[in-house]
């Protein structure tokens, strides 16, 4: 038997599915929402709904966007000949923070992970290859994480891309091996971009 009324239990159960939210935190959040105004609660609910309804993947680069193509792919001021490949959409912010990259992106939505059964087939690689086969792209920077999985992904992509006669570079290991680009400060990220090497 639940100690709470059904709508409360339902909200707590949904909140518990979020990362880092345990039972206690879920209850605290649910009671906070209960005490807040009807307007605030409605704003939260519609923000959650809009997120799913209005966001999609950019058909060119797989970035999460509300307009397709995304702001990077459709920007006339960005260098469309220079593509930076990242594992996750959140990694774009890390590269942007350096303010020294003016190219565009390609998001893989993961990395090669044999332990999780994720091979190259499960990543969004197809539209990268068709993108470069158009001949418009001059350089691809591989900015996957400096982990075994990120390295395996970069090595695999380098093989595929070099067949098309492209310049393929890998960001320098300026940040510690095993780390995650998402948690990297902008100076380290900038050094990594500057020190990229030919693959």
């Amino acid at each position: 038997m639940s100690r709470f009324a059904e709508p409360m239990t339902r909200l707590i159960d949904e909140l518990k599915k979020l990362p880092g939210i345990g039972n206690k935190s879920a209850q605290r959040l649910a009671f906070h929402i209960l005490r807040s105004s009807a307007d605030d609660a409605a704003a939260l609910a519609s923000a959650v709904q809009d997120l799913k309804a209005k966001l999609q993947l950019c058909t060119i680069c797989n970035n999460i966007t509300d307009v397709d193509p995304c702001v990077y792919c459709s920007s006339p001021t960005r260098n469309q000949k220079l593509v930076c490949v990242v594992e996750e959409p959140t990694n774009i912010a890390s590269v942007e923070k350096t303010r020294h990259f003016n190219g565009v992106y390609h998001v893989l939505h993961g990395s090669i992970s044999p332990l999780h059964g994720v091979g190259p087939e499960q990543l969004r690689i197809g539209n990268l290859l068709s993108r470069v086969s158009g001949g418009e792209i001059e350089e691809v920077i591989l900015a996957t994480n400096p982990t075994v999985e990120g390295e395996a992904t970069a090595t695999y992509l380098a093989q595929q891309l070099k067949r098309q006669g492209l310049r393929v570079t890998r960001i320098a290991m300026g940040f510690p091996v095993g780390s995650d680009i998402e948690y990297t400060d902008e100076v380290t990220m900038l050094k990594a971009m500057e020190g990229r090497r030919e693959m």
């Binding site: 044999p114 075994v148 390295e151 510690p176």
Partner: protein, 247 residues
């Protein structure tokens, strides 16, 4: 609190809560140990690349009373798999070693033989040659776990199999002769039985110079995997990945 220090091989990590990592270590001291690396997700500087799967480390951890999870204090890299080029096939081979060890080893039961085998095999996996060390690893894991059947005679009639054809079945132990083979059996070639015999008598490094494409010992690896998967009662994710890799 008892602080322990041991050589170890990192098998797996999982994100835990906001920024911690749950780490499975194969320690020389105590066998498989699960521990928590606090704040490892955010401040990876503290552990660096030491928590990448198949890194050979010197780990310091402490066991807290009444908890099965140790707290990982520090991890110093002795040898990293990232010291050599990480290709897709190499990553899959390394992951296979990690998955098999993780699935098959019981918690907190030391095995120096398995530890030494793992180190030797990882050492041979630094280059592009993968199928040889993989075959050696699967064979010796099957042997060290006590699952390896006799290669020399038919389990049904006891007939000598040397110089004769030999068969195995997914659901049965051991090899059979042609007369006793069950429906849907597969053949284990004389060449592969010979390889197995040599591998059981030699160190993995002695095979390093031999050319070893995927096709060599493929039936032996399939035979061994069936035995191993039957004992752990599940399919290994990485075995399917390796199967899809060419050459």
């Amino acid at each position: 609190m008892a602080l322990k220090e041991s050589e170890a091989i990192v098998l797996r990590t999982y994100p835990l809560r906001e920024s911690d990592l749950l780490v499975t270590l194969f320690t020389r001291l105590e066998g498989k140990v699960k521990g928590v690396a606090r704040s490892a997700m955010k401040s990876r500087r503290r552990f660096g690349g030491a928590l990448e799967p198949l890194t050979y480390v010197r780990a310091v951890y402490d066991d807290r009373e009444r908890r099965d999870l140790a707290r990982l204090d520090s991890c110093e890299v002795i040898e990293s798999p990232m010291a050599s080029e990480v290709t897709y096939s190499r990553a899959a081979a390394l992951a296979h070693v990690a998955e098999l060890l993780d699935e098959i080893l019981p918690d907190r039961e030391p095995s120096d033989a398995v530890f030494r085998l793992s180190l030797a095999v990882l050492h041979e996996m630094r280059g592009a040659v993968l199928w040889m060390p993989l075959t050696y690893f699967e064979l010796w894991m099957t042997r060290l776990m006590g699952f390896l059947p006799e290669f020399g005679e038919c389990v049904v009639c006891g007939r000598e199999l040397d110089g004769n054809r030999a068969f195995y079945h997914a659901l049965a132990d051991g090899l059979t002769c042609l007369d006793d083979k069950r429906i849907a059996s597969s053949e284990l070639s004389p060449e592969s039985r010979k390889i197995a015999g040599q591998m059981l008598r030699s160190r993995v490094s002695e095979f390093a110079a031999i050319e070893w494409p995927k096709a060599v010992g493929q039936d032996l690896r399939k035979f061994l995997l069936q035995i191993l998967e039957r004992h752990i009662e599940k399919k290994l994710v990485t075995a399917g990945m390796l199967e899809r890799i060419a050459g």
